[in-house]
């Protein structure tokens, strides 16, 4: 079955930097570039035996519909945020979803490897 998630305010906190990142003694608030209408579509793979195709069909399809960025403000933020750490705003729920999909892919890959091994043994 299909699970549809609407994530309104997933943020990637970015520091546009080509210099080394200073280790702050007190972590400042990371600069945020909000992603609007980030749409995640997941299909749970109920059966791990359904192979990689099911994992792929059920995988994350990230559609970034709109990124709000003000160029002048970005330029000023870029100067201030050269040393700010980069981060990703993601809920634990979404993190677990992608983690579980990765595990399904791992199992599927192991199934494929086992199949190849058996094929080689059968030769």
């Amino acid at each position: 079955h299909l699970i549809t998630l609407n994530e309104q305010n997933v943020h990637l906190n970015m520091a546009v930097s080509t210099t080394s990142i200073r280790a702050p003694s007190v972590t400042p608030g990371p600069q945020t570039l909000p992603l609007q209408k980030l749409f995640l579509q997941l299909a749970s793979s109920a059966s791990l035996s359904s192979t990689s195709a099911a994992v792929n069909r059920g995988w994350l399809q990230l559609t970034q519909q709109h990124l709000r960025a003000q160029e002048e403000e970005d330029g000023e933020k870029e100067k201030r945020s050269d040393d700010l750490p980069i981060s990703l705003d993601l809920t634990f729920h979404l993190l677990r979803e992608v983690l579980e999909m990765a595990r399904a892919e791992q199992v599927s890959q192991q199934v494929e490897n086992n199949r190849k091994m058996m094929d080689n043994f059968g030769k």
Binding site: L62, L67, I86, S87, A102, R103, E105
Partner: protein, 307 residues
Amino acid sequence: MSVSLRTHLLLFLVSLSSRMGFSRYIQDVGESEEYGFRRPLRCLDMLSIEGHFTFVAAQPQLACAAFIISDPDEVVVLELNDVNIDCSSGDFIKMFDGWVLKGEKFPSAVDHPLPVHERYTDFCSSTAPRTSSRSSQNVAMIFFSIHSPGNGFTLTVRKLHNPFPCNIMSQTPEGSFTVVIPHERKNCSFSIIYPVELRVTQLSLGQAKNNDLSPQAEVRSGCSASGDFVELLGGNGVDTSKMVPIADLCFSHSGLSHVRIGCDNSVVRLVSSGNYVNRVSFQYRLLENNELPTRRENSLDNFCTVE
């Protein structure tokens, strides 16, 4: 041609054709080639297998990240190949030694061997491009931003065995593990990003005479004075230094065979002075919704429930 030879030939042809068909099937989702597994990398992705993952921007992709996780006794090596980005126009690829979520880092700055700025590997570094990074624990991340369609890169993920894992993110909501710190002054956290029931099954700290749990020993309240102890933490972020201590175990425990941590993140943290070989073994399983501890009156609003 004999019957048996024809049979063998027929079976051989059948196996060939089925394999070819299956290969086409695999090609849609990821290929296991001679040089490793290969599939496209998504803007938001989680990688738990070795292989080559290629990202090509179909449109400007300015905020992408991929989490990488391996088994607890492994570390990950990330390599960038076929990089086609324009650093001068704001493109970047940064690898991070750990995970960063909502501004919080795992492992925390306190528990990680490197300072924060050394945990980032920036491809667009002002000096030579840095294309490889090896993690200190079983998790790593990569952040990337690409303005021009058609630009991209390939990320190669490899895993290496880690004989003394410290700071582990569990891939599963249930399992068991033993954290060992052999004569090192450091702290190691085992993080489970699920609400779990946790059972400490074996504890060997400091000058413990044996590894058996002594049911008669008392639990010392507050182990901070001891240089060697285990903390059970709960919280709603990944930074263990910002989590609330649920229990401390200094020497042995009685009456604390298990604890239910109804938090987004449940952590077992072993603090070691370096004077001894410390070890803690535990089991954990996912708490179902109806098993989550109920919130008591007058409890902290933003603290998850424990019992």
